[in-house]
Amino acid sequence: MKSLHEFLIMGGYAAYVWPAYGVTAVVMLVNALLPSLRLRRRIAELKRRADGGERS
C-alpha cells in the first residue's frame, strides 16, 4: 500500500501530473456549469418576456 506522501509527490513527476489534472478539472467544470447556467438564465428571461407580453 502506498502512502499519501508517495501519492502526492508522484515519483518526482508531481510538477507535471498535478497541473495537468488541475487544468483538466477547471476546463471540465466550466464546460459542465456554463451551459446549464446560461440555459437557466435564458429560460428565466424568456419567461419574464412572455409574462410581460401578456400583460401589455
Binding site: V17, V23, T24, A32, P35, L39, A50
Partner: protein, 248 residues
C-alpha cells in the same frame, strides 16, 4: 422497404429534441461521474507506476480521452454541419454550433496535458512534430469554424460558410490519427489498440477505458445542454418555446 423514418424526423424537430435532451443529460452526467471517479481511483492510485515513465505516465488518463474527444468532436462537427448544408436541417446546424466550443476545449486539454507530459519525457513542452502540429491545427480549425459562423450579418450565410470550412478541415482528423505511423514522430505510438491485443497491462488499461467512457459521457451530457441552449436561442420566437417555458 418498410423502414420507419419517424424517429429521424422527430430528432430533427427542435421541440422534441429539446425535451429529449433535457431528460437524457442528467443520466449521462451521472454515468460520467461514476466512470471518472472509478478511473481516477484506478489510474492515480491503484495502477502501478510505468517501468519506463514512472508515475509520469499517469497523465495518459486525461490526455488520451481528451485527444480522442478532440477528433470525435471535430468529426461530429463536420458531419452535422455537412448534413445541415446538404439537407438544410436546422437541428444539424444547431448541433454543429453546440459541439464546436466543447470540442475546442478538449483539443486545448489534449495539447496542454500532452505538453506537460512531453516536458519530463522528451525534455520539451513543445516540438513542431507531426502529431503535435496537426493537433494544433485542429484547435485553429475549431476557432475558424466558430469565428466564421459568426462573421456574417445573416446567421444562415455564416452557418453555410462555416460548414464548408468544417468539411474541408475534416482531412486533418485522419492526418492526426496516422501521424505517428506516417512520420517519424516524437510522439509515442498507439497504446490501446495495437494489432489484435493491447500493449498495456490490465491494471493500467481498465482505468484508461473507464476514463474514456467517462469523458465521452461527460461530452454527451455537456453537448445535450449546449444543444438545448442553441435551439432555444434560435427558436425563441417559436410557439413551442412557450410550451416548454410553462413546463420549466
Amino acid at each position: 422497404m418498410n423502414i420507419s423514418w419517424t424517429w429521424f424526423h422527430r430528432l430533427a424537430s427542435p421541440p422534441h429534441f429539446f425535451r429529449l435532451a433535457g431528460r437524457l443529460a442528467p443520466w449521462f452526467g451521472w454515468l460520467a461521474l461514476i466512470c471518472i471517479a472509478a478511473g481516477l481511483y484506478g489510474g492515480l492510485w491503484y495502477a502501478p507506476p510505468d517501468y519506463q515513465q514512472g508515475d509520469g505516465f499517469r497523465i495518459i488518463y486525461i490526455h488520451v480521452p481528451s485527444a480522442y474527444l478532440s477528433m470525435m468532436g471535430y468529426t461530429m462537427l463536420a458531419v452535422s454541419a455537412g448534413i445541415g448544408l446538404v439537407w438544410r436541417m436546422k437541428m444539424a446546424h444547431a448541433v454543429a454550433a453546440a459541439v464546436a466550443p466543447l470540442g475546442a476545449s478538449f483539443t486545448f486539454l489534449a495539447l496542454v496535458t500532452g505538453s506537460l507530459w512531453g516536458k519530463p519525457m522528451w525534455g520539451a513542452y513543445w516540438a513542431w512534430d507531426a502529431r503535435l502540429t496537426s493537433e494544433l491545427i485542429l484547435l485553429f480549425q475549431y476557432f475558424g469554424f466558430i469565428a466564421l459562423s459568426r462573421a456574417f450579418e445573416d446567421p444562415r450565410s455564416g452557418e453555410k460558410a462555416a460548414a464548408v470550412l468544417a468539411l474541408v478541415g475534416l482531412v486533418d482528423v485522419p492526418v492526426i490519427h496516422y501521424s505517428v505511423v506516417w512520420w517519424n514522430s516524437l510522439h509515442q505510438g498507439s497504446t490501446v489498440f495495437v494489432g489484435a491485443g493491447s500493449d498495456i497491462a490490465t491494471s493500467m488499461l481498465v482505468p484508461l477505458l473507464a476514463m474514456i467512457a467517462g469523458f465521452t459521457a461527460f461530452f454527451v451530457a455537456c453537448l445535450l445542454k449546449r444543444i438545448q441552449l442553441e435551439v432555444l436561442e434560435r427558436e425563441s420566437a417559436a410557439a413551442w418555446v412557450r410550451e416548454v417555458l410553462e413546463d420549466a
